[in-house]
C-alpha cells in the first residue's frame, strides 16, 4: 500500500476524531490552522488543501515501515521486538545535579548536554512543563535549559510543534527527545523531507524514550484538582514493587494508587506498536526496579554510538551491561505491546486487512498475529 497524502480534514476524521491522536505535535505549528492546546490538537479554521504536511507526518497516518527504516537505518524494517539494535546496556549520569533532577539515571540529559557542549547539536527540541505542568515543546540551547526540561510528564507532549515553529531558514543543528510517536513522526519527516519548514537534515540526533502509554482524557484536570501544580517538582511511576503514581514537591511526596490513574490512559496509545522508539539514534528507558537509578540504553545508529563513546570519554556517563534476563523481559514487553496494539486495531476496524496506519510487510504481520 502506498502512502496517500491527504489534508487536515482527513487528519481530523481519520486520526483526531477517530481517537488515534497521541498529540505528538507533528501536525501542529507548521501552518496557521493546526495548533496544540492543553492536550489537544486544535483546528482553528477549515483548511481546504487536499494534501498537507499535517497528514503526511502524523505518526498515525499510513506509515510505510520499510521506507522509513530504509531512510533511517539503510535497510528494510526487521520486525524485531526492539527494532534495530547496535548495543544495549545500562547507564547513568556521573553528574550529580543531572542525576538528581532527571528521571532514573539522568542519561538523557547527560547525553544531550555533552552533545550541546561538543557542538554536535546547538539546540534540543524537548518537552518542558509550564508552571501548571502542561507539557509543551521547547528548544533548549544550554545545559541550564536542558535541566529545566528534565523530569517526565506523563501527559502527551506536542514536542514537535516546537520543531515546526522554527524559522525555515534556520541552520541550527538540532537534537530531539521524544516518545516513540514523536520519533516516528521525525522519521517520516526524514523520509519525506518537508517543504517550507526547517530543514529536517538539521536534526542530527534523535533520542527516543521508552513508552508504554501516556495519560490524557481529563488527567490534567485530575492533577489540577488534587495537587498544587505550580509547587510540583516531579512525577514518577516507580517500578516494582511500587504500584503508585508519585507526585513530588520540594519538601514532600504524595502517592496515588496506579489503578486510580489507569482510567486516564490515552486510548490512542492502545493502538501503538512501538515501545522502544525504534527509529531513534538512541532509545532510553528506566533501569526498572532491579537497577533503580539506572537507565536502559539501546543504541541504534552510528550517530548514537559516537555520542555514547564521547560521553564515556568525557566521563559524564557510566555504564554497565544489561543482564540477558532483563533484555529478554524488555523484548517480551515490546512484543506484547505490538501484538496488543494490532489486535486493538483489528478490533477497531473489524477488518484484518485494515490496519489503519500500520504499514508492515506481510511476513512480519503474520508473525505478530500468529
Amino acid at each position: 500500500m502506498d502512502m496517500k497524502v491527504k489534508g487536515s480534514k482527513e487528519l481530523l476524521t481519520e486520526v483526531i476524531d477517530a481517537g488515534l491522536c497521541t498529540l505528538c505535535g507533528a501536525c501542529a505549528g507548521g501552518c496557521p490552522y493546526l495548533v496544540s492546546y492543553k492536550g489537544r490538537a486544535v483546528l482553528l479554521d477549515d483548511c481546504t488543501l487536499s494534501e498537507g504536511q499535517c497528514y503526511r507526518y502524523c505518526p498515525r497516518t499510513y506509515t510505510d515501515m520499510d521506507a522509513v527504516s530504509q531512510q533511517v537505518f539503510g535497510m528494510p524494517y526487521s520486525g524485531d521486538e526492539l527494532g534495530a539494535v547496535k548495543e544495549i546496556f545500562l547507564a547513568r549520569s556521573v553528574d550529580k545535579e543531572i542525576h538528581e533532577r532527571g528521571q532514573d539515571g539522568g542519561t538523557v540529559t547527560a547525553l544531550l548536554s555533552v552533545a550541546l557542549a561538543e557542538g554536535i547539536i546547538e539546540g534540543v527540541i524537548e518537552t518542558k512543563m509550564d508552571d501548571d505542568k502542561i507539557p509543551q515543546g521547547f528548544v533548549a540551547r544550554s545545559r541550564e535549559e536542558l535541566l529545566e526540561c528534565s523530569g517526565v510528564s506523563y501527559e502527551p507532549s506536542p514536542v514537535l510543534e516546537a520543531l515546526n515553529h522554527l524559522p525555515r531558514e534556520s541552520t541550527e543543528k538540532l537534537g530531539i527527545v521524544g516518545l516513540p510517536c514523536h520519533v516516528a513522526a521525525v522519521a517520516k519527516m526524514k523520509t519525506y523531507p518537508p517543504q517550507n519548514r526547517v530543514n529536517i537534515d538539521n536534526v542530527k540526533l534523535v533520542v527516543g524514550l521508552l513508552c508504554g502509554w501516556s495519560l490524557a482524557n481529563g488527567f490534567h484536570q485530575f492533577l489540577q484538582q488534587n495537587f498544587d501544580l505550580p509547587r510540583v517538582t516531579k512525577f514518577d511511576i516507580p517500578h516494582h514493587p511500587g504500584h503508585t503514581f508519585d507526585v513530588y514537591t520540594k519538601s514532600d511526596k504524595e502517592s496515588v494508587e496506579l489503578d486510580e490513574i489507569r482510567q486516564y490512559i490515552n486510548n490512542a496509545c492502545s493502538y501503538c506498536l512501538d515501545m522502544t522508539a525504534e527509529f531513534a539514534d538512541i532509545s532510553i528507558g528506566s533501569g526498572r526496579a532491579k537497577f533503580k537509578g539506572w537507565n536502559t540504553v539501546i543504541v541504534r545508529t552510528d550517530a548514537g554510538a559516537e555520542l555514547i563513546k564521547l560521553a564515556k570519554a568525557k566521563h559524564v556517563l557510566e555504564t554497565q551491561p544489561t543482564p540477558v534476563e532483563s533484555v529478554t523481559n524488555l523484548k517480551r514487553a515490546a512484543l506484547n505491546k505490538k501484538k496488543r496494539a494490532l489486535n486493538n486495531i483489528i478490533a477497531k476496524t473489524g477488518d484484518k486487512n485494515d490496519l489503519l496506519y500500520v504499514g508492515l510487510r506481510e511476513d512480519i504481520l503474520d508473525n505478530l498475529l500468529a
Partner: protein, 643 residues
C-alpha cells in the same frame, strides 16, 4: 450645502425624507427632540441635533427609544412641542409607554416618527408599524413624497394638539433615505416656555398624566379618533388621480404612490386606471374611500409589508349596506402584491398587467437575452463585511480561536450592531444567535443556568458599547443576580457605529456636541461585583488568552474590547495606523501551505490575492493600516511599519 434650517421660504432643496421630516418639525416650532439611532430613521435626529443650538431647541441621543420617547413626553407635558423618531424595532421598545400614553393624552404637540424598513435592508426583521396605530388608537399619517414628509410632520403637531393625543408618522426606507424636492416653508421664531403644573391638572386634584380611569379614557380616545376621521376626510394629503370611471382603482399610500403612478404610466393606462393615494392612514377617511370605491369594480391595494389598508378597507366594505357594490379586491391576499419585502415599480407593473391581462416588456427581448448570457462568474456576489481596519474583525478572530482552543463547543450569542455581520464570514460565522437589542446577554443568562441539565458549553454574549447602554445592562444584572454563567464581551468602539457614529453615554459627548460626563462601562460593571478585563482587540494574543481565562471561570465575567471604530479614527487622524505591505519574497503564495489564510479566511478587504503573482498583496486604496493581518501571516510576510 444648505442645512435643514435654511431660512428661505419658497425655495426648493434636495432633501432626503428624514431631512424633510426634520424640517417639518422645525417649521412646527419644536422645542425638544430625542431619539436613539436606527436605520432608516437616524438622519431625522442627526439633522435636528445639528441645528438645535442655532434654532434654540433641545436635542438628545437618548440611551434607547423608550427613554427617548419618555423624555419627549416629559417635554410635551411641560408644554413644549416634541418629536421622537425611531426605526420599526424602536416602536416595539416604546410600546409599553405608548400604550399607556394614549390613555392619558398629551401636553403640547407630540409626534412619533416610525421608519419601517421593508425587506429588512438594514434591520433584523421587517415589520409594519402601521398596525400599532390601529392597535393603540393613534392617528397615523404616511407621506408619499418628500414634500409631504415635511408638510405632514409640520401639520402632525397641530393635529396632536387639536386631538390631545400623540400623532404618528410612518415612513419607509424609500422615503426616509431617498432624496427629492422639498419646497421650504416659514421657520417660526418663538421662545419656548416650559412649565408642568399649568396643564397637568385633569381635575383640581387628579393629574392628567397617568392612565387612571382607563376604560373611560379609552372611550374618550375613541372619540378623539372619530374626530380625527372627520379631519382626515377632506385632507389634502389624500387625492385621486384618474378617470371618473376606472377599469381598475389602485388604493395606495407612502412610497407605493410613486411606484403606482410610474406603473400606470409605464403601461400607458392613465385613462383606464385611477389611483387613490391616501396620506391619512388611521383612522381611515371612510367616506372618501367609500366614494372612490364606486369608481371601479376592481380594486388593487398597493402598500408595503402588511395588508393594512387592504384589510381595513375590507372591514369598511363589510359594513356597507347590502345594496352597495362589492368590488373585487386584488392585493396581498390575492397574491398580486407580495405580503413581504419592499415593493418597486416593476412589481406594481406586473400586478396591474396581470389584472388587466396585458403584457409588458421592460426592454427588447433580444437585449434581455444578451444580458442573461453574461456568465454569473463575471458578477460574483459581494458579501457585506467589516470595513478594513475594523476592530470587530480582530475581535471575532480572537473569539473564534479562543472558542476552538477551549474546545467545549462554546458559542456566541450576538446582538444588534455592525458586529451582527459576524453571523457571516465577516466574523467567521461566530455569532450563533441574533435577535434584538440586549437579547444576546439575556439569552446567555438563560443558557448559563442550564448546568443542571448537563449544559457545559461556554457562552459568550457580545454587545456593542451603545447596545450595552441601550438594553444589555438589565440582562447583565439578571445574570449576576441569578448566578448564571457567561462572559459578556462589550465591543467598545466608542461610537454607535452602524448608524453613523452617534455619541452615547460612554463617549463623553452629547448629540448637540457638548462635552458631558462619561458613563464608564468599566466602573459600572466592576461595581456589580464581576471581574472586568479590558483588551485591545488588535492584540490578538492577549485577547485570545483573556477570553480563554474568562471562559475557564464560572459566573459572569465582563471583557471589554476597547478599540475605536476605524472610520472614526481615520476621519480624525487622516492617516493610517501603519503602512502595511506584503513582502513578495517572504509570501510563499500557494506553496506556503497557509491556504491563503489572509485573503480566504481573515478576509479583510484591504488584502487581495494577486492572481498573476500567486501571492497576497495589499490594496492600498482600501487598506486602513490596522496591521492585524501582519500577526496572522505564518511567514511574517505582511510587514507593518510605523507611519
Amino acid at each position: 450645502m444648505a442645512g435643514i434650517d435654511i431660512d428661505a421660504p419658497g425655495t426648493t432643496e434636495l432633501f432626503i425624507g428624514n431631512e424633510a421630516i426634520a424640517r417639518g418639525a422645525l417649521e412646527a416650532g419644536i422645542g425638544f427632540a430625542a431619539a436613539y439611532p436606527g436605520t432608516p430613521s437616524t438622519e431625522i435626529m442627526e439633522s435636528l441635533a445639528s441645528v438645535a443650538k442655532k434654532m434654540n431647541f433641545y436635542a438628545e441621543w437618548s440611551v434607547n427609544e423608550k427613554v427617548a420617547f419618555e423624555t419627549a413626553a416629559g417635554a410635551s407635558f411641560a408644554g413644549i412641542r416634541a418629536i421622537t423618531a425611531m426605526k420599526q424595532n424602536g416602536v416595539n421598545v416604546i410600546s409599553d409607554f405608548l400604550a399607556n400614553l394614549v390613555v392619558s393624552g398629551i401636553g403640547a404637540g407630540l409626534v412619533l416618527v416610525s421608519c419601517d424598513d421593508p425587506s429588512a435592508i438594514s434591520s433584523s426583521n421587517e415589520q409594519d408599524t402601521r398596525n400599532i396605530a390601529k392597535w393603540l388608537d393613534i392617528p397615523l399619517l404616511e407621506p408619499g413624497t418628500f414634500q409631504e414628509a415635511k408638510d405632514m410632520t409640520k401639520w402632525a403637531f397641530d393635529l396632536a394638539e387639536e386631538l390631545d393625543t400623540i400623532c404618528m408618522i410612518r415612513s419607509v426606507t424609500r422615503i426616509a433615505h431617498a432624496r427629492g424636492n422639498v419646497t421650504l416653508g416659514e421657520l417660526p421664531r418663538k421662545e419656548h416656555k416650559a412649565h408642568f403644573d399649568e396643564i397637568a391638572s385633569f381635575t383640581p386634584t387628579l393629574t392628567k398624566f397617568a392612565p387612571v380611569l382607563s376604560a373611560w379614557k379609552h372611550q374618550q380616545l375613541h372619540a378623539k379618533l372619530d374626530k380625527a376621521q372627520e379631519i382626515f376626510e377632506p385632507s389634502p394629503f389624500n387625492w385621486y388621480r384618474g378617470p371618473d370611471k376606472a377599469e381598475l382603482l389602485i388604493i395606495t399610500c407612502g412610497s407605493c404612490w410613486l411606484y403606482s403612478l410610474e406603473a400606470v404610466n409605464a403601461l400607458k393606462l392613465e385613462s383606464k386606471v385611477g389611483i387613490l393615494k391616501l396620506g391619512t392612514i388611521w383612522p381611515l377617511p371612510q367616506k372618501l374611500i367609500e366614494k372612490h370605491l364606486s369608481k371601479s369594480q376592481k380594486i388593487l391595494v398597493v402598500e408595503e409589508i402588511d395588508p393594512f389598508l387592504e384589510g381595513s378597507i375590507k372591514e369598511l366594505v363589510a359594513d356597507l349596506p347590502p345594496a352597495s357594490p362589492h368590488p373585487t379586491f386584488y392585493g396581498k391576499r390575492s397574491g398580486h402584491i407580495n405580503a413581504f419585502g419592499e415593493l418597486n415599480p416593476d412589481m406594481v407593473i406586473e400586478a396591474i398587467a396581470r389584472i388587466m391581462d396585458i403584457t409588458y416588456e421592460s426592454r427588447p427581448a433580444e437585449y434581455s437575452k444578451k444580458a442573461e448570457e453574461v456568465p454569473l462568474t463575471y458578477m460574483p456576489p459581494r458579501l457585506m463585511t467589516f470595513c478594513s481596519g475594523c476592530p470587530h474583525r480582530a475581535t471575532f478572530w480572537a473569539i473564534k480561536n479562543a472558542l476552538r482552543l477551549d474546545g467545549r463547543d462554546g458559542f456566541v450569542t450576538g446582538d444588534i450592531g455592525c458586529y451582527s455581520m459576524a453571523l457571516g464570514p465577516a466574523g467567521f460565522c461566530q455569532v450563533r444567535t441574533m435577535y434584538c437589542m440586549g437579547a444576546g446577554a439575556g439569552i446567555a443568562s438563560g443558557l448559563g443556568k442550564l448546568g443542571q441539565f448537563g449544559f457545559k458549553q461556554p457562552v459568550l454574549a457580545v454587545c456593542g458599547d451603545s447596545t450595552f447602554f441601550h438594553a444589555t445592562i438589565p440582562a447583565l444584572i439578571n445574570g449576576i443576580y441569578n448566578q448564571s454563567n457567561f462572559t459578556l464581551i462589550i465591543l467598545d468602539n466608542n461610537a454607535t457605529a452602524m448608524t453613523g457614529f452617534q455619541p452615547h453615554p460612554g463617549t463623553g459627548m452629547t448629540a448637540m456636541e457638548e462635552p458631558t460626563k462619561v458613563v464608564s462601562m468599566d466602573t459600572l460593571c466592576a461595581s456589580l461585583g464581576v471581574p472586568v478585563e479590558v483588551c485591545d482587540p488588535f492584540d490578538l494574543k492577549n485577547t485570545t488568552e483573556t477570553l480563554l481565562k474568562a471562559m475557564s471561570k464560572d459566573g459572569i465575567k465582563v471583557v471589554i474590547m476597547r478599540r475605536e471604530c476605524e472610520l472614526v479614527r481615520a476621519r480624525r487622524e487622516k492617516k493610517p495606523l501603519y503602512k502595511v505591505h506584503v513582502d513578495p519574497d517572504k509570501c510563499l503564495g500557494e506553496a506556503c501551505g497557509c491556504d491563503r489564510l489572509c485573503t480566504r479566511v481573515f478576509g479583510c478587504l484591504g488584502l487581495e490575492w494577486d492572481k498573476e503573482a500567486g501571492k497576497a498583496k495589499i490594496d492600498e486604496t482600501v487598506c486602513a493600516g490596522c496591521g492585524v493581518c501582519a500577526d496572522i501571516c505564518p511567514q511574517g510576510a505582511i510587514i507593518k511599519e510605523a507611519v
